[in-house]
């Protein structure tokens, strides 16, 4: 089955600044794919290129089998929810959908009422968009994207600015849409939340795509990390340095040490610390999460001298 979105060797520069460097990734049909990375990593630029909104220097992008610059030829099968206010404030919620439907050019597919109901704002149909809260505006943007027959839904930072309840509701909505057969591409820097719904992730940093794999593959490939508390800390650091294959990643201000044990088992690390006369108060193997995968990648990048914004 061809990918819903295929980006191959994308390069995009702003003057002398290279915003995206040779990025390649795919969004398989039926997946919830995350385009993840810190602020300024090139996510929005990549999306803008992929959606035909921004010319790029080189590479090739296909959206549902159509080149990105001809995305309008997909006939509304691609729908996008952009970060920020992209509504007509002077129109009501229902009128905003009608406005979008006229651009779409057909009245088939999901109706306005269905879209409003699905996003939980049916009771706001007559309210002016200008008077809605951030969360309600986000839902209306999604409702607008859902009218017609979209197959690929692209969301740019859909969780930004939402409170905990709003985030939870939004994630539930994405899962529901996925269950209805929609392919989703979600750009976000909220890794813990995204991990609960994603089936696949592409991680981008400093304009470079570092990983593109299914979530299972990403988490399996992640090396175990240990959080160690041992006193005196300088002796613990020295003991860890003597262990072959063990890397000290970070010494936090509260003297907590973050360690990559490599082939050494946690028990061996503990034994070495005790043998060095350290009082070990905590040795916690960290569960592999999207966040830990991401942190490892940040560490790798920093180790290679790449500047990663915090």
């Amino acid at each position: 089955m061809p990918a819903a979105l295929a980006v191959r060797n994308l390069v995009k520069s702003y003057g002398s600044v290279r915003a995206v460097r040779d990025a390649s990734f795919e969004v398989p049909q039926g997946s919830i794919c995350g385009l993840l990375g810190p602020n300024g990593s090139g996510k929005t630029t990549t999306l803008a290129c992929a959606l035909g909104l921004l010319p790029f220097d080189s590479g090739a992008i296909d959206v549902l089998g159509v080149p990105a610059h001809r995305i309008h030829e997909t006939g509304g099968r691609v729908a996008v929810v952009f970060d920020g206010a992209t509504l007509v404030d002077g129109l009501s919620c229902r009128q905003n959908l009608q406005y979008a439907r006229r651009t779409l050019g057909h009245s088939g597919g999901r109706s306005d009422d269905e879209a409003l109901q699905l996003t939980g704002i049916a009771e706001l149909a007559g309210r002016h968009a200008g008077g809605l809260s951030l969360g309600q505006r986000r839902r209306l943007s999604i409702a607008r994207a859902l009218i017609g027959r979209p197959e690929l839904l692209v969301l740019d930072e859909p969780l930004s600015g939402l409170d905990t309840v709003g985030v939870r509701a939004m994630l539930q909505l994405f899962t529901r849409l996925h269950e209805q057969g929609l392919t989703l591409l979600v750009s976000s820097h909220r890794l813990p939340e995204m991990e609960t719904i994603l089936t696949r992730a592409a991680i981008i940093m400093g304009g470079q795509l570092l990983r593109d794999a299914s979530l299972d593959e990403l988490l399996q490939g992640q090396r175990l990390r240990l959080r160690v508390r041992a006193a005196p800390a300088p002796d613990a650091v020295a003991a860890l340095a003597r262990l072959p294959g063990v890397t000290l990643l970070e010494r936090r201000p509260d003297d907590e040490l973050v360690v990559l044990p490599g082939a050494t088992s946690p028990a061996a690390v503990n034994a070495a610390l005790v043998a060095a006369g350290c009082a070990v108060s905590a040795l916690v193997p960290e569960r592999s999460t999207l966040l830990s995968v991401f942190e490892s990648l940040v560490d790798e990048q920093r180790a290679q001298g790449v500047e990663v914004p915090v």
């Binding site: 921004l54 729908a79 992209t86 009608q98 979008a100 006229r102 651009t103 779409l104 050019g105």
Partner: protein, 289 residues
Amino acid sequence: MKGTLRVLSAEWYRARHSRVLAVGAFFLAAVAALRVVAAWLADRANYAAAVQRALSQSRPAPPPPGPGNAWSPFVDGWLAGLTVATLLLLIASARSLAGDREAGLLRVARTRSASRTALVLGRALLGILLVLGALAVTGLGSFAVSSALYVFGPITEGGFTIYAQDELRAELLSALLATVAPLLATWVFGLCISSLARGGTGAVSAALAIYLGFDLFKEVLGPRQYWVFAAFNPSFVDKSCLHEMSGIARGMSDAGYSQALYAQNLWLPWPWAAGMLLVACLVMGRRAL
């Protein structure tokens, strides 16, 4: 072409439902009507002054004037409405692409079904509807009040008919015909500026500055000003064909464009509009949305 029509349909829907159109139409009709009322009040004030003068000189007061001929206030009212309409159209078109780009609406339309060219052409076609609408509401506003306060009849002087009603209608029709093309070119000029600007406010400011700047300084260009489409628009420093029609409605025999200038008025705005539309399409074809 389908994409262009879809954009036109969407923009027309937005205009109709966002109250801007209704408020704008009412405002333009009111401007035209108020211009007629102002002329009528000025006539009454002149008569009152004449009565006061006569009484102060112990002469009998002059008889009250008749209702007067409606043609002159009617054309002046229409002209006033269209002068304001030109500026409103310019503001609306200048805000159009730049404002929607700023608000992210162009991105939404682009990704769902509209090509970049369609986004421009659909808005250009909307201009035709708005220009015709502006002509209609200003004309109706002026006509309604003119008919209530004055009487339409031939222009006469000393019992001699200078212009019969049929002639006046024909002249007015010609003048209106000459007004359509420059107004459309003005709309496209706004779109062109809009395509180049970074934001809606900047686009409106730039468009108004250029347009009003030309209006103020066009006199310096002499006859060469008529090589710019804006010279044919109803404006504050008015050189339009409709302004000449106002002279005709006052019975001035030397009023009216020469045949050559009238012909230039009819054709010149079209290449301007086409050129500016091309620029807008080319710019929007390359810009980040």
